[in-house]
Symmetry: C2
Subunit: 385 residues, 2 copies
Amino acid sequence: MKNSSDNKVVDLFKHTNTSAKVLNISDSFEMKRGGHLSNVNVAYEAWGSLNSDKSNVIVIFTGLSASSHVTSSPSDQAPGWWETMVGDGKAIDTSKYYVICINTLGSCFGSTSPVSINEQTNQPYRLTFPELTVEDMANASQLLLDKIGIKRIHLLIGPSLGGMKAIAFSILHNSIVDNLILISTATQALPYAIALRSLQREVIRKDPLWNNGFYSYENPPLNGVRIARKIGMTSYRSANEWTQRFGRKKSVDNKLNQNTFGIENTSFEFEIESYLEHQAVKFQNIFDANCYLYLSRAMDWFDASNLGKSSLDAFSKININKALVLAVDTDTLFPPQQQKEIAENLSLSNTKVEYKELSCVQGHDSFLVDTVSFSKEIENFIKSL
Amino acid sequence: MKNSSDNKVVDLFKHTNTSAKVLNISDSFEMKRGGHLSNVNVAYEAWGSLNSDKSNVIVIFTGLSASSHVTSSPSDQAPGWWETMVGDGKAIDTSKYYVICINTLGSCFGSTSPVSINEQTNQPYRLTFPELTVEDMANASQLLLDKIGIKRIHLLIGPSLGGMKAIAFSILHNSIVDNLILISTATQALPYAIALRSLQREVIRKDPLWNNGFYSYENPPLNGVRIARKIGMTSYRSANEWTQRFGRKKSVDNKLNQNTFGIENTSFEFEIESYLEHQAVKFQNIFDANCYLYLSRAMDWFDASNLGKSSLDAFSKININKALVLAVDTDTLFPPQQQKEIAENLSLSNTKVEYKELSCVQGHDSFLVDTVSFSKEIENFIKSL
């Protein structure tokens, strides 16, 4: 960690992976929608060894809520969010590639964000943080890579929000990326996804503890963040997965079986309810409410066609060799139609594109869960490069 | 209205259709999960004329949020919730049939519910209202029909929750129903639907104004009810409908374009957001929060298989001539698979069943919106009887 401000942020979010490196990437970082940030930090982790001609770099951009801890390492043995995908001998093979995972600008896991200290006020930015876009996240990632001497990326991989960042990065920094894997992502947010995110933000804002962003970090708006997470979760998996997994089973968790009021004699009577509660409680304790608002709205705003005169014009700026676009048949948040659009846009701009629609029951989150199916596709693609 | 208690309830909910008749159906009504209600009222409306042998009765059970005002009438010319479906010369033809629509027990539109006055305390029931089930709603409807002299129903129609009630009614009161139309409904609630409803209830309960059910009727938990309604709406239509209808259009509603906080410089910047807000504000002003909690949980609890030794055993008690089961291909809340299950259960119990999966973009709500497609199917079925 670079300075006391960083340490203060880390203190607020104890979950921040201890092995992440944090680098200052800019003294004055211009934001796309106006305003700027001074002394911008970006957190990242790296695995494997950079070869002599620096031609073995794989960069992973994360989804909305993930840290840079994509897999375990000697210095941080906690399992990463893509542990079964990234590692020695795995599909993304750290014995062959130098793998870098970058924490998003605006995320509370080490990069500069609304919980960071604004050095001009010596207070956390909170809502004085400038409006954040996917393009800002891409630009901050580019500066980080530049800072650590990476001028070319053999393969850039982005799932979900990470895919939006990867699209923006490939358009804005088109001399850097050689190959691309985009997973369950989109060229632009569509209204169903915007609606779900808008609702999540509204629930956070209506939590009285949110207090217009000026909540106490010791007593943050946990209800808002927890319920927001649950709303999100209704679109991260699939109805069929839940039917198979939970059906109408009752919850056996006694801690949750507390009377709340007459008609709901167990507040989370069904197993699906206690499952959501457990997952969302974990999340409420590690994610900052204001960061969530900023990252969520950035996804709504993203529209790659704004990076050119049209979507095709924007995509024509991409200058890569080969792309793999992976869709999941049960993904309702970033449905296969949106992956097809990406593949078509890339094809029209003379990129060699493989498009695959995987059949997985876990919906949007399949890339995190059905790593058997995903490993196969990713491994084959990497071998084909 | 029968007495001052009823009038008080109506005062609280000004939307209650003035033309509804309210009848006392029982002095002591036993509830399935325990407890009882005294002096139970059920609200209903009727159109057309009963023929001499009382063989032209069509009964409509409503969804979660509808009143008995299914269509306009001379005494209440406001359009009903199925105005294009029910009326003189329409698919459900009030010039030929005596059409009765019954307000659900537990709904705030005239039937006894958590906003009704408990005569023992002279206070609204609120959360002292006993646990409510779909079966209770069916039983109350049967008592209402008995009270008005209806011993046989030529055709019972139920969409959504109304379909659950119609299934329960046909099992529990199997000498009364001759034919059945079930629309976008289910034999039991599945976890995706339970999750969405659980979240809606949690949002209401977390609204500080909800106050454990003891809110002021002048200052009710509007935020909770409004956001709950929006969560529901994400499953009432379809993602594709919203893409076609709203895309990424920006809201032009200046009333909503108020600064809320920095990163969300218009609180409902996208048209999808202002659409949801408008619809949900309408709802928050007419629907009681406690009633919503009871009706919502009743849907989670419903499982027709509990009405027999098994689902098939329960369905074998149904004794009707013919059934039409209508599914919508884009319905994610009550998906076609659940309609097929109903049709299969009915078939195995020797009912003549027609199953149709309609292709409509409006999702679960298609029966309310695409009345051209639905009218055709319903009209043909009625003619075939």
